[in-house]
């Protein structure tokens, strides 16, 4: 059989199409990149573990609690913990909620469809009724605003779904770090393979959600709903958090007349792959809270790598953000390769064409992303001053 290769693509990001067709990653395979990506994913794994536990705790134990003052305490409220909280010696769980709300707002994938189905309404209503027994105030609220409590339940569903998604991702990143420490991971393609394999392995995991009220369990997302890890949480997460995101306050005008924000949320490009790691004025870095959290769990080798930078630890959050963005391009590579319609090394022209169309559609979305920047700009800095004269 004769192998016929596709003609080179004319896409502005053709270089990356070529890489993906050759089974490589969107990020160049260099020793620094491997160190940065694995190191940052380790700290991300630790943080995601905490986020995940808290999200699931809120979904299951703060169900329809209208004033959840202690929702970040995971049920353990002590004066010492309260003091640490006020001193801000804690994980920024607000970031997890920010991500959850962004997913809820964009609402892509099967979970969103299910939350609009009659079955959900029925199950949510049952749980609401159980929760409202003996709460005249809440009953009055429900009578006045009938859509308010179901919407709160939808939000709880997203708390739970994101918590379950991050549970898997956290374990995946921590096992990646363990394998790196053992010397099993030495290149970016190996990182991508690890992520891809883990995503494939978890693809069919069921996403379910139930709350226990007055001794009875109410299944709000039953296994029979057929929601699974890959298509109903991972893909919407990538779409929502990696690509769309939400405009960060202070960086664009919210005034509709300024036309700085697209009226179509599907055209948003404020996600992690687009975020500028540099704060502008007082706006801060969009995932600032996440960077602050990861800062506490950096492995020693990564911290040392950052220290060697021109600013040392002065710009730690920016360096973390740059590394994080690189790692997210690796995760995206895994998702792209995992969802490719045909094997990357297919020799069949039709399959090659289908793959090409598929990859070009991804690249169209990367046009305004920081793909070129993470490829061109090393996190370590040139020492020489620029010459202007």
């Amino acid at each position: 059989m004769v192998s016929i290769k596709n003609k080179p693509s004319n896409h502005p990001l053709a270089e990356y199409i070529q890489r993906l067709e050759a089974g490589e990653a969107l990020l160049p395979d260099t020793a620094d990149n491997v160190l940065e990506v694995v190191g940052i994913l380790k700290s991300y794994g630790v943080v995601l573990d905490a986020y995940s536990r808290n999200l699931i705790y809120i979904a299951e134990n703060q169900f329809l609690v209208l004033f959840p003052f202690f929702k970040y305490f995971n049920g353990e409220i002590t004066p010492a913990k309260l003091l640490r909280y006020w001193w801000h010696d804690r994980i920024n769980f607000e970031y997890a909620e920010y991500v959850m709300r962004t997913m809820l707002w964009h609402g892509t994938g099967g979970l969103d469809d299910y939350l609009d189905s009659p079955e959900f309404k029925q199950r949510a209503e049952a749980a609401i009724q159980a929760k409202l027994q003996g709460h005249p105030l809440m009953l009055g609220l429900k009578a006045l605003f009938p859509e308010f409590l179901p919407e709160q339940v939808r939000m709880s569903c997203y708390y739970s779904a994101l918590g379950q998604f991050w549970r898997v991702m956290s374990d995946m990143f921590l096992s990646l770090s363990d394998r790196y420490d053992k010397g099993e991971i030495q290149s970016i393609p190996q990182v991508v393979d690890h992520v891809k394999d883990a995503l494939v392995a978890a693809a069919q995991l069921s996403i379910t959600y139930a709350v226990k009220l007055r001794g009875k369990t109410y299944e709000i997302i039953p296994a029979s709903a057929g929601l699974t890890f890959l298509t109903d949480t991972a893909v919407p997460y990538v779409e929502t958090i990696f690509f769309r995101g939400t405009p960060f306050q202070g960086t664009v005008s919210y005034n509709a007349q300024a036309h700085q924000i697209s009226p179509d949320p599907s055209r948003f490009n404020y996600g992690a792959l687009f975020a500028d790691p540099l704060p502008t004025g007082g706006a801060g870095i969009p995932p600032t809270l996440l960077m602050q959290d990861m800062r506490h769990f950096l492995p020693d080798y990564l911290r040392e790598f950052y220290r060697r930078g021109r600013r040392g630890e002065d710009d730690l959050r920016v360096q973390i953000c740059v590394s994080f963005q690189k790692s997210m391009f690796c995760v995206t590579t895994a998702a792209i390769l995992g969802l490719m319609p045909n094997p990357g090394n297919t020799l069949l022209p039709d399959e090659q064409k289908a793959n090409r169309v598929y990859l070009e559609s991804w690249m169209n979305r990367f046009l305004a992303s920081r793909l070129n920047e993470v490829n061109d700009q090393p996190n370590s800095c040139p020492v020489a001053l620029p010459e202007w004269s």
């Binding site: 540099l278 704060p279 021109r310 600013r311 620029p386």
Partner: protein
């Protein structure tokens, strides 16, 4: 006592210059810092011993030198020169501290800085016209070499231009001094006997004109200013600090001490013209600053504008405005030194001063946030924001000058608004917005880069909040300068000459109301 201010830096320069081979840069720097620091501390000792209520020269030193020439080594200090001496001591220390540790030909460099400082101190202390001229010319040599050797790409051009302009300035000043002595039939160049009231007014005016042009070059005033932007742009940061902070003050000091002091009648005659000249300088400097894209050039043109305020206040010659000249000199010395230091740090870290290249330097993670914040303070001080010394000095300039030259004062006040325009433009373009891609990975700023600017910023705020600490030393002297001075005041639409006593009383109310000063006995009341 006063000679130490000249000879301590000179001794330091000699030590560094003639030290046997093997002296390393750190030792040279240390010796220079010790010499400059000792002179600065000695200045503070003099301040502590200085009697502010005494209006004449204090700590006088007199050594006959070349009697046939009428030249004597006569030093003294009063409320006019004292703040400038302190400024010289402080800025010399800052300039040495801010110098690049790895500077080439370090022995020559530090020796020249110390000689420069000694020359400036000598000029401020000299009570003999010829001695002043010698020191005035002495500082020319080290400054020329500092620009010509350690300057930028066009250092040769800038240094030569500076040399030519300042040489002409020196010639005119010398000619005027010779004229004073010879035409007055004096036998010496001593300052006090050189009062020229006996000379015909036309002669006074001619001699004064020579001084005006001579010192006008040094200040500089438009159109004699063209050497300054070039010198600043090409000079290294420490030299710019000294140039703007101290050396320009030789021009204003000379105008006040010799122009105003020796030719009071002619000064009054030319007053309206001088005020108009000040307006031209202020507006030209400010408008030209707006057009600049090089941060250092912008600060240089700002200096030209701000030195115009000194001329305006001096032209008005009221007790309040004369005091304002001293405050404006100190204020400009501190603020411009701060601005040049900060621009120097920006240039050192980014490699550029171009407004088109730089942006977002206030970035808290990868920019220069503290340097940017200090720049905000410097800009506010320069634009006359209350709470800083710039406000006090400019307010006094306008308050003191307005009764005499209302139109010129109002026009000059535009300069303050224009200062805000060009410096806010600088802040907006260089420090706000997203960090420019071309300077995205700046090296970290060391605390040693920040300390000198912090010291200046603290002083700017301190004297802004408590101006009396500064006014206290100069007010009796500046008031006395006006005592023998016919004052121009505006009465409705007509100018009218009044006696000095009347003038003093006229302005004392406004003066004390403005600063809420305690009652200080008028020097006139002690006159027998």
């Amino acid at each position: 006592m006063l000679s130490a201010l000249i000879w301590m830096p000179m001794l330091g320069a000699a030590l560094i210059g003639f030290w046997p081979k093997g002296m390393n840069p750190n030792r040279s720097r240390l010796i220079a810092l010790v010499a400059a620091g000792a002179a600065c501390l000695w200045t503070l000792v003099i301040v502590s011993q200085f009697n502010p209520s005494h209006v004449g020269q204090q700590f006088s030193e007199f050594i006959p030198w070349i009697e046939t020439l009428g030249l004597n080594y006569h030093l003294g200090v009063d409320g006019l020169s004292l703040p400038l001496l302190v400024l010289n001591g402080l800025l010399t220390c800052i300039a040495i501290y801010s110098s690049d540790v790895a500077i080439q030909r370090f022995r020559l460099y530090y020796a020249l800085v110390l000689v420069l400082s000694a020359g400036v101190a000598g000029a401020f202390l000299a009570q003999d016209l010829l001695l002043f001229f010698l020191f005035y010319e002495l500082e020319l040599i080290p400054l020329y070499l500092l620009i010509a050797i350690w300057g930028g790409h066009r250092r040769g051009y800038a240094a030569t231009k500076f040399l030519i302009y300042t040489a002409i300035s020196g010639i005119l000043i010398l000619a005027s001094f010779l004229g004073i002595v010879w035409l007055s039939s004096n036998t010496s160049f001593a300052y006090d006997p050189s009062r020229t009231q006996t000379l015909p007014l036309a002669t006074q005016a001619l001699l004064l004109l020579m001084l005006l042009i001579g010192f006008g070059i040094k200040m500089p005033l438009v159109p004699l200013h063209t050497w300054l932007p070039d010198a600043h742009v090409e000079a290294s940061t420490p030299v710019s600090v000294l140039l703007a902070g101290v050396l320009l003050k030789l021009g204003t000091y000379g105008l006040l001490r010799f122009g105003m002091g020796l030719f009071p009648d002619a000064w009054n005659l030319l007053g309206p013209w001088l005020a108009t000249w000040a307006v031209v300088s202020v507006l030209y400097g400010s408008f030209t600053a707006i057009a600049q894209k090089d941060m250092k050039k912008m600060v240089a043109f700002s200096s030209i504008g701000h030195m115009g305020y000194v001329l305006l206040a001096a032209a008005a010659a009221t007790p309040l405005s004369t005091l304002a000249t001293v405050l404006q000199m100190v204020s400009h010395g501190l603020i411009s030194a701060l601005m040049f230091l900060l621009v120097g740090v920006v240039y050192k870290k980014t490699g550029s001063r171009d407004l088109d290249v730089l942006s977002g330097l206030l970035n808290p993670e990868r920019g220069l946030p503290l340097i940017g914040s200090l720049m905000v303070l410097g800009v506010m001080a320069s634009a006359g924001t209350p709470g800083m010394i710039g406000f006090i000095s400019e307010f006094l300039v306008f308050r003191g000058s307005f009764p005499v030259f209302p139109v010129q004062t109002l026009l000059s006040m535009l300069g303050t608004a224009l200062t805000a325009v060009y410096f806010l433009n600088l802040m907006n373009r260089v420090f706000f917005g997203r960090l420019s891609e071309q300077v995205i990975n700046l090296p970290r700023v060391q605390w040693s880069d920040r300390y000198p600017a912090i010291v200046l910023a603290v002083l700017i705020v301190l004297f802004g909040i408590q101006p009396n600490w500064l006014v206290h030393w100069s007010e009796p002297t500046t008031t006395a300068m006006n005592a023998s001075f016919p004052v121009l005041t505006l009465r409705t639409h007509n100018f009218k000459f009044v006696t000095s006593q009347e003038g003093q009383e006229l302005f004392s109310h406004a003066f004390k109301r403005t600063l809420a000063l305690p009652e200080i006995p008028s020097p006139m009341s002690h006159t027998p």
